[in-house]
């Protein structure tokens, strides 16, 4: 009988947490069910590999798929090296003084800056000042900029978690600072870094606001993949199909199909990264 109170209390405590988890899962299931059940009928290789036709009321989503893939590649190529280096600089090199703290605070703050503001900045910097025009390159770099603070913050969080004694261990055997970082600190922090990068990139791939003014087009008739041309992207395509297209009702199945493809593309990216992370962890053990 001594344990009665704690037990009931702990059941209540436990179920509060369980309930919130269930609710979150419910949200996910609703979203997935809606998209899969309504989009599945459209989904086929043909849908993915054919271009939109008949004023986008028929055909598939090949053009936007290509656009999104290329766009994400530009984003990754820009943001990962710069983001990770910047985090390493801040955490391993910069002295922990007020300046660094201010910079860190600013970067944290920048990860809360609305993505549309990055769109404005991309417009001003890449489209206008650097004369890239509304183009794949401008949009990709804009998304890259948007991703930077996230990558920096998550990378830094992962780095901070490595205890100093681990760094000391490497330094004490004569490793240079760079070697310590490359061989000990970064590998130990890798799962955290990877998680951050993955989440950031999949987010970037699904972003619409920053590419609104920097290069996304309602329609292009051929996907040439040139960096200086406008492009179609899956998220923008879905936005257009669900709000702008002439016959929203008629293209709704295509919209669902597009949503499903977009979700699949993003999930595939995540799975690839999960795989890397899993492999990494296995190696570590």
């Amino acid at each position: 009988m001594r344990y009665k109170t704690p037990k009931i209390a702990s059941i209540i405590e436990w179920s509060t947490l369980l309930l919130s988890t269930c609710l979150v899962c419910f949200f996910l299931l609703v979203v997935l069910w809606e998209i899969i059940s309504k989009g599945a009928s459209k989904l086929s290789w043909e849908f993915v590999f054919s271009v939109p036709t008949d004023g986008m009321t028929k055909g598939g989503v090949f053009t936007p798929v290509i656009g999104t893939v290329l766009l994400t590649m530009i984003t990754a190529l820009f943001s990962i090296p710069f983001g990770v280096s910047c985090a390493i600089y801040l955490n391993e090199y910069a002295e922990n003084n007020w300046l660094t703290r201010t910079i860190r605070a600013s970067i944290r703050n920048l990860s809360g800056v609305p993505s549309i503001i990055y769109g404005l900045f991309g417009l001003a910097l890449f489209v206008q000042a650097l004369q890239f025009g509304t183009s794949m390159l401008a949009a990709g770099l804009t998304l890259g900029l948007l991703s930077l603070p996230y990558i920096i913050t998550t990378t830094e969080e992962a780095l901070v978690r490595i205890p100093n004694s681990t760094r000391e261990a490497a330094l004490a055997i004569g490793a240079t600072k760079f070697e310590t970082i490359k061989d000990v600190v970064v590998p130990s922090a890798m799962p955290g870094i990877l998680t951050g990068v993955v989440l950031t990139l999949s987010r970037a791939a699904g972003e619409t606001a920053p590419i609104l003014f920097t290069g996304a087009a309602f329609y292009i008739n051929r996907s040439t993949g040139y960096l200086n041309e406008e492009f179609m992207a899956l998220p923008y395509h879905l936005y257009m199909l669900s709000t702008q297209h002439q016959s929203i009702e008629e293209v709704r199945p295509i919209a669902y199909g597009t949503a499903l493809v977009l979700v699949i593309v993003v999930f595939l990216m995540n799975l690839t990264a999960f795989y890397f992370r899993y492999k990494y962890r296995k190696n570590e053990n």
Binding site: T53, D54, G55, M56, V127, Q128, Q131, G133, T134, A216, A217, F218, Y219, I220, N221, R222, T224, Y226, N228, E229, E230, F231, M240, T243, Q244, H245, Q246, S247, I248, E249
Partner: protein, 262 residues
């Protein structure tokens, strides 16, 4: 900079679907043809021309004085093409007991002076206005034509289609869209009702889907659809414009619910 054979077309949401279809058909004839088309509203198209981000702007309104000046200041020469005639349709829910409306009353509704359908009909519902965003040529066209300011309660939908969606579901909604968006509504099972417009209480109400009225320029909200082309890009755009004017192009335009007036 753009590659030589690649065209950027931006602007009117009213025209964008038509433009896509035209481009698609033309691309079948000329495989080297390469175009990117975006909507966003006439204002967006014109601004993009100014900013060097487009070769053609589709516009459902003429250039404003201010814009003409801006082009002059920047030293950008334009060609103006009128390629079709549009009739802006006002739509309400199909259950609303209202068939026609005069311009003055319509203005009051859009201004927010008349706030309840009970003032016009037997329905007791507050009026919901489904409008367009300010970059819309249609938006400024209606505003100018009625000489009003829109009520701030008006929802700003980002495209014609969203307005239709809204009105379809909303028993108390009213909205406006280009003719192309209701072309099929006239005969199909009518998910929205197209209001007939009369210029004053006494005149005949006319429908935007009635070619007769349009051809005689009798519908109150009728207007030309423009394309502005940057002179410098004219050489690459010309084949497309020629295609629009070909019989096949004209046929497409009409099939989309717009009109050709010679």
């Amino acid at each position: 900079g753009n590659r030589d054979n690649s065209i950027k077309m931006k602007g009117s949401d009213t025209e964008v679907n038509l433009a896509v279809n035209l481009a698609e058909k033309f691309a079948a004839i000329d495989p080297a043809f390469n175009i990117a088309i975006s909507g966003g509203g006439s204002g967006l198209g014109i601004t993009s021309l100014l900013n060097g981000q487009a070769d053609i702007a589709n516009s459902s309104r003429p250039l404003s004085e201010e814009e003409i000046q801006q082009f002059k200041n920047k030293g950008i020469a334009l060609r103006t093409i009128v390629f079709a005639e549009d009739a802006t349709a006002f739509v309400v829910h199909r259950d609303l007991p209202l068939e026609e409306i005069d311009v003055l009353t319509l203005g009051k509704i859009l201004k927010g002076e008349i706030r309840n359908w009970s003032e016009l009909t037997t329905t007791h519902l507050p009026i919901n206005i489904y409008g367009r965003q300010s970059s819309s040529g249609t938006h400024s066209f209606v505003k100018k034509k009625l000489n009003i300011e829109f009520s701030t309660a008006a929802k700003e939908m980002t495209g014609n289609a969203q307005i239709l969606e809204g009105v379809k579901a909303d028993k108390s909604g009213i909205g406006y869209v280009g003719a192309g968006y209701v072309a099929h509504e006239a005969n199909a099972n009518q998910s929205v009702k197209i209001l007939k417009i009369k210029e004053s209480e006494t005149e005949i109400a006319r429908s935007p889907t009635d070619p007769e009225s349009i051809n005689h320029r009798l519908y109150f909200f009728q207007r030309p659809l423009y394309q502005f082309v940057i002179e410098k890009s004219w050489h690459k755009v010309k084949p497309l414009v020629d295609f629009e004017r070909s019989p096949q192009g004209k046929q497409l335009i009409e099939a989309h619910g717009y009109y050709i007036i010679e």
